[in-house]
Symmetry: C2
């Protein structure tokens, strides 16, 4: 009898609802504030950027929100994704731990991002929107929204962080294959971009800057909305299909995680895998489940940032949200995990961290690539640099189990493949990759500029 | 009620046997000959290159050959692959045809190639081999064997056709991620390579040259065997898991193909999808199933080549096989579908073409990329340039159905994704891609050098 290597649910077990953690939390997360008034914002403040359906999801306290049938129909192309048991990695590590990974790289765009991109495109189409602007780091989000836009006949314009635009030219080609337009950020196309280029002509860009540019464009035109690939609560909500499927697949496996590991940039893939399990723990109590968020040491919002009200973008066009932040003007060094180069953390992830419901941990770039190569040689899948942080976290947990002689069950989210990040692997093999330092002084300067409501 | 978009078999329906078309053919395909004696070769002639188990499969007349359990265990990581119904492509084409594709790009290496790579690595490991040399065109095969080598602890050395090595640097990074070594071919590492470089220093290489180099290396060392990613009958055999799964999935879909389309370079993905259906047609009779092989107009072995005994490689180190050939010294122009740049065609595919059991058709590079982009925008998957030939063939069949008002069922093999071929798409969008001319004069010269046994 051979051990099972993958647990795949039948198509009719694609979740019918998204799961909303807010319904199960002991206290609500602080509301977004209007930067001018310092008062909580209302739906009308967000209406120029988002369709009302998404604004409603952003503040909903309902435990479940039904997934529209057209969205589930598109999910069915690649969902349910399999839960894999990493037998060969376990053998390579000689650990008594059982390591599982949920593999989201089988989606058309190669990551978990289409889970929310398809939903967002659907609601925008319903609202009569014909054009969406957005930002992207490594390009996973931009290509996911480009894919979704192609399906719904929506024009997509992507501001791609300059360093990733240069490092990952083929992500651009992928977005163009889906019919989207891709612009390096900071760009000359927006007031925010021009101002930053005037001051820093060789700016490597950041997600904070790219968000400002995309928001500026969307705010100017009635036919154009903005879409965000992470951070916001409705985005995290859409990703909970990942964790819900994982829970059901663990029933097939007759197992249950002791530890869940996810990488965190804006927080959406982490929330997607973790929140359904966290909700079950909050409702049922008694579980010893640990949840570990892993981030780059060079952009350590959860482990080194301040929990305060801050802007979501560098150009200060967004509402203020309470989150772990390195300061909205903090520009992370140009490491390869572009999807993790964000100065803040999802308010909901920040909130559960403050509540002590999750742990956080930072890793350097090189140890993450080392873990990724170990994983690739054992399991045959080359992870995205972002996902390497989760791989490293899972491997460390497995080695702890070995040291402690414990046969624990570890689950991590392999949120995307690295097919468009091979220059990073090439550099790694050539010994050209280095660890990037965390610019502590730059954080201090950025935090000094926190909006005055920050103490509120 | 929404139409089903994918048909996925349960894991226990991964085929237990490979299907051997030879058992059902009305006449056997001509045997390989020894180039010195002109006599049929025996197992001992091949023993320096291949393990005896594969040599046995090469000449077997058994209808089914059991898949070893360790091979099926590895297949289970990504098999059974789904059969997808391309509803959105049908809508985009406004065709009454039902278009299905079997998607092999979900494998770790991104194509159908691991189906045989894993099997070949298994049998070599069983035979005590610690090192395998091989060639690769676009890199799909090289990365598949690198993956399989990593799983079985076998060292892998890949001679990669120079033009693809330059066009697709990230394929090399993938092979290195799996621990393999990758060398641009022609190289200075072999006598064959040095001779070609002496004559043509800027040679863009070809599969025929790379095969010679890999064979030379394998022949020199007892611990080293050679592996081929296509052409040979045992390779085609291993790929029949694709067609067998498709047949079973069509039962779920309550449908059956009228037309099957596959792209042909060496012939293995085409044979993989088509042979199980062809065998059923030969055994049961009465079916109107058409099978269409699609190849590049610039390397048209089936549509323009001669059916004759020829060498499988440019350096004339292999046995003579009877196949459709452009001449073993023919070097195809450097178009982007590197996996289709082979001067010959699998003897078994050539034989069934001679028997009138399949059709063949050639397409130019640009129309294939146009088809690939149409497919990507409708279905969200960016095909490999090789697979674009099958996409183009399927689209043309669907448009014929539209013209004739026929609701036929079309199946094609989407044998791999294009994630490592994005430079080609970038060039296509930039208008830099051109159709490559078929060098008819070069073929005539190459065919003039056919071995004298060719008339036999």
């Amino acid at each position: 009898m051979t051990d099972t290597v993958k647990f795949t649910l039948p198509e009719n077990q694609i979740p019918k609802d998204w799961y909303n953690l807010a319904a199960d939390l002991p206290s609500p997360s602080p509301p977004p504030l209007h930067p001018g008034t310092g008062q909580p914002i209302g739906p009308d403040d967000l209406a120029p950027l988002f369709p009302m359906a998404l604004i409603g999801q952003e503040v909903s306290m309902e435990r479940t929100i039904e997934i529209p049938q057209p969205v589930r129909d598109i999910y069915r192309q690649w969902r349910p994704t399999s839960l894999h048991r990493a037998h060969r990695l376990e053998q390579a590590l000689d650990t008594p731990a059982r390591i599982y990974y949920k593999y989201e790289g089988v989606s058309p765009a190669g990551s978990h991002k289409p889970n929310t991109a398809v939903a967002q495109a659907f609601y925008n189409k319903e609202a009569g929107i014909s054009r969406i602007s957005t930002e992207t780091g490594a390009g996973q989000w931009g290509s996911a929204l480009a894919f979704a836009g192609a399906l719904f006949g929506i024009e997509v314009e992507v501001y791609m962080v300059r360093v990733s635009y240069d490092q990952k030219p083929y992500r651009r080609a992928m977005m163009e294959s889906f019919g989207a337009r891709c612009v390096a950020s900071p760009s000359e196309e927006t007031a925010v971009g021009r101002a930053i280029l005037a001051e820093t002509p060789d700016s490597s860009g950041s997600l904070g800057i790219a968000i400002s540019e995309a928001v500026e464009v969307a705010a100017q035109r009635d036919d154009t909305n903005y879409a965000l690939g992470s951070v916001l609560s409705h985005v995290l909500l859409h990703q909970t299909v990942v964790g819900q499927e994982a829970m059901a697949a663990f029933e097939l496996a007759d197992d249950y995680p002791d530890v869940i590991v996810g990488c965190t940039g804006g927080g959406s893939n982490f929330a997607g895998i973790a929140f359904p399990f966290l909700g079950a723990k909050l409702r049922d109590g008694g579980s010893d489940l640990r949840i570990v968020a892993v981030e780059p040491k060079a952009c350590p919002s959860l482990t080194r940032g301040t929990y305060a009200y801050d802007f979501g973008d560098t150009g200060h066009l967004t509402p203020l949200v309470k989150m772990h932040t390195l300061g909205s003007t903090f520009v992370p060094p140009p490491f390869h995990a572009g999807g993790l180069r964000y100065h803040g953390m999802a308010p909901l992830v920040s909130h559960v961290h403050e509540l002590g419901l999750i742990e956080a941990r930072g890793y350097d770039q090189l140890e993450c690539f080392e873990a990724g190569v170990t994983f690739a040689r054992a399991e045959g899948i080359i992870p995205a640099p972002e996902a390497n942080h989760a791989v490293k976290g899972a491997i460390d947990e497995a080695l702890r189990c070995k040291q402690e002689g414990k046969g624990q069950t570890i689950l991590f989210n392999l949120c995307g493949h690295g097919h468009f990040d091979m220059q990073a692997y090439t550099d790694y093999f050539a010994g050209k990759l280095v660890n990037q330092e965390f610019a502590e002084g730059e954080m201090a300067m950025a935090l000094a500029g926190l909006p005055s409501v920050a103490s509120g």
